[in-house]
């Protein structure tokens, strides 16, 4: 099975924080509440659904999910 990788586009993120709420294991927020992927963005096995859930709920379409 292919691995997923996530990335938050810093130019698009406006800090809605939906990703942090839906997938707290995969995203962290800075002091302004803007989101970043945890680590290098590799999605641990078992959290794939949460990655897609975060992606499909971001109002700014700021989250990229790629399959490696």
């Amino acid at each position: 099975m292919s691995k997923l990788k996530i990335r938050v586009d810093q130019d698009k993120c406006q800090g809605h924080a939906r990703c942090k709420s839906l997938a707290p294991e995969l995203f962290e927020l800075d002091e302004y509440g803007n989101a970043h992927e945890v680590g290098d963005g590799t999605v641990p096995a078992g959290l794939e659904d949460k990655a897609w859930l975060a992606q499909t709920n971001c109002p700014e379409i700021a989250i990229e999910v790629t399959e490696e």
Binding site: G15, H16, A17, R18, S21, E31, Y32, G33, T56, N57
Partner: protein, 408 residues
């Protein structure tokens, strides 16, 4: 508040007969049930226009709303309410009324106090506020949930954040009514509200300068603006104005609409009572389906939105609520699906003006619904009462009579 007519009282709006060419978001028909109107407008064009309000466009699709929200070159935020008049701009409320490049530094000052982590620290107080309010009416078996519950939660939460007595909340409610509802058509009411509010906060500012604390007013006084200089008093006052105007009847409305929906929908009520873990997902759906906040922009330069020309000098009614009902974006857009999985709703705006208080609003909504359902799982609209809705920029129930307990 004065009931007597004054020179600044503007003429009543004639009833709308042609929504597509003459829309009016203050018409009683719109106030009562805007959803079929938006459907009509959307079917006609992605952007419609009215001669009212000295000329105003309204984008009707999610796509058109998004194009405008992202376009700060052609659309200014310097006026954020569509009104009958366009007086000289005096009372600014940065960052909501700011455009780039002033916007970003003004917003960054306000963001840290409103992160999800900061809201977690406030949450126990909000939970206690909800229960104190419920204690006051639960034995009665009935209440006006708007007047007794939803109205007070955001007021007290913000007062708590600002380090102001929670009982002063009644003053806040009065000013907001003057500014957001009466002020659309009555300049004098609006100016009275702004003047009283400014005087009240100025006194608190002076007091915090003498005795700084951990509250939000003290934090703003300590904050550094662009260039490392402290913010001016005018800037701090403007931001406080914003927090009050934007933070109170918006969330009051959002909690009220959620309770209104649950009062009329036993299946959703029962499911959320049985599965409280679903409440955050349901809150997102209530935010989509009953988005309270409509924003505004002013067209600065001629451009094209979704193929429609828009001309400078007009206002724009930036209806995030209508965008959130667009079936091209949301399947079953007119149904409330409390476990909707994909929900890119724009209730808190899109682009740089994303609501600075969105984390606060979500926390308040979640806690308010959780605590209500814990203590009042079974309730319904009072058939002998009347639900009324606010007029204008922020939509939510202002009277919400419900029955519960022995009357359920």
């Amino acid at each position: 508040m004065s009931d007597s007519p004054s020179a600044s009282y503007l003429p009543e709006h004639p009833p709308v007969t042609d929504w597509v060419h003459d829309f009016d978001h203050t018409d009683p028909v719109w106030t009562d049930d805007p959803f079929p109107i938006w459907e009509t407008l959307r079917a006609a064009s992605p952007v419609v226009h009215t001669e009212r309000f000295l000329g105003c466009y309204m984008p009707t699709t999610y796509q058109a709303v998004k194009e405008i929200a992202y376009d700060t070159e052609h659309f200014s935020s310097r006026r954020v309410i569509v009104r009958d008049v366009r007086p000289e701009i005096s009372a600014r409320a940065p960052p909501i009324t700011s455009d780039p490049p002033e916007h970003k530094p003004a917003k960054q000052v306000l963001l840290p106090p409103f992160t999800p982590d900061a809201m977690k620290r406030l949450e126990p107080r909000v939970r206690a506020i909800c229960n104190e309010l419920i204690d006051e009416f639960i034995a009665d078996g009935h209440c006006d949930a708007a007047a007794r519950y939803t109205k007070h939660i955001p007021v007290r939460a913000i007062a708590h954040m600002l380090g102001i007595p929670e009982k002063d909340g009644d003053l806040f409610i009065k000013w907001i009514h003057q500014i957001l509802e009466l002020g659309i058509k009555n300049e004098e009411e609006l100016m009275n509200g702004v003047r009283e509010m400014t005087g009240y906060f100025m006194a608190h500012l002076e007091q915090r300068k003498l005795e700084p604390g951990d509250d939000l007013i003290s934090q703003l006084l300590r904050a550094k603006g662009p260039g490392g200089q402290p913010l001016t008093d005018e800037h701090v006052l403007g931001s406080l104005r914003l927090l009050l105007i934007a933070g109170i009847d918006t969330t009051w409305s959002a909690i009220g609409s959620s309770l209104w929906h649950l009062a009329r929908t036993p299946a959703d009520r029962e499911r959320l009572t049985a599965e409280p873990a679903l409440i955050p997902t349901a809150i997102e759906e209530f935010l989509r389906a009953y988005s309270p906040v409509t924003m505004a922009r002013e067209v600065m330069k001629e451009t094209t939105i979704s193929g429609c020309p828009v001309k400078a000098g007009n206002m724009v009614l930036l209806s995030f609520p209508a965008a959130n009902r667009d079936p091209a974006m949301f399947p079953d857009a007119d149904k409330v699906v409390i476990d909707r999985k994909e929900n890119r709703h724009a209730a808190f705006g899109l682009g740089i003006h994303r609501c600075v208080g969105s984390n606060l609003a979500r926390m308040e909504m979640q806690v308010a619904i959780e605590e209500w359902l814990k203590r009042i799982p079974d309730f319904r609209l009072d058939p002998a009462g009347k639900v009324t809705w606010s007029e204008g920029t922020v939509r939510g129930p202002r009277q919400l009579p419900v029955l519960f307990g022995k009357n359920a």
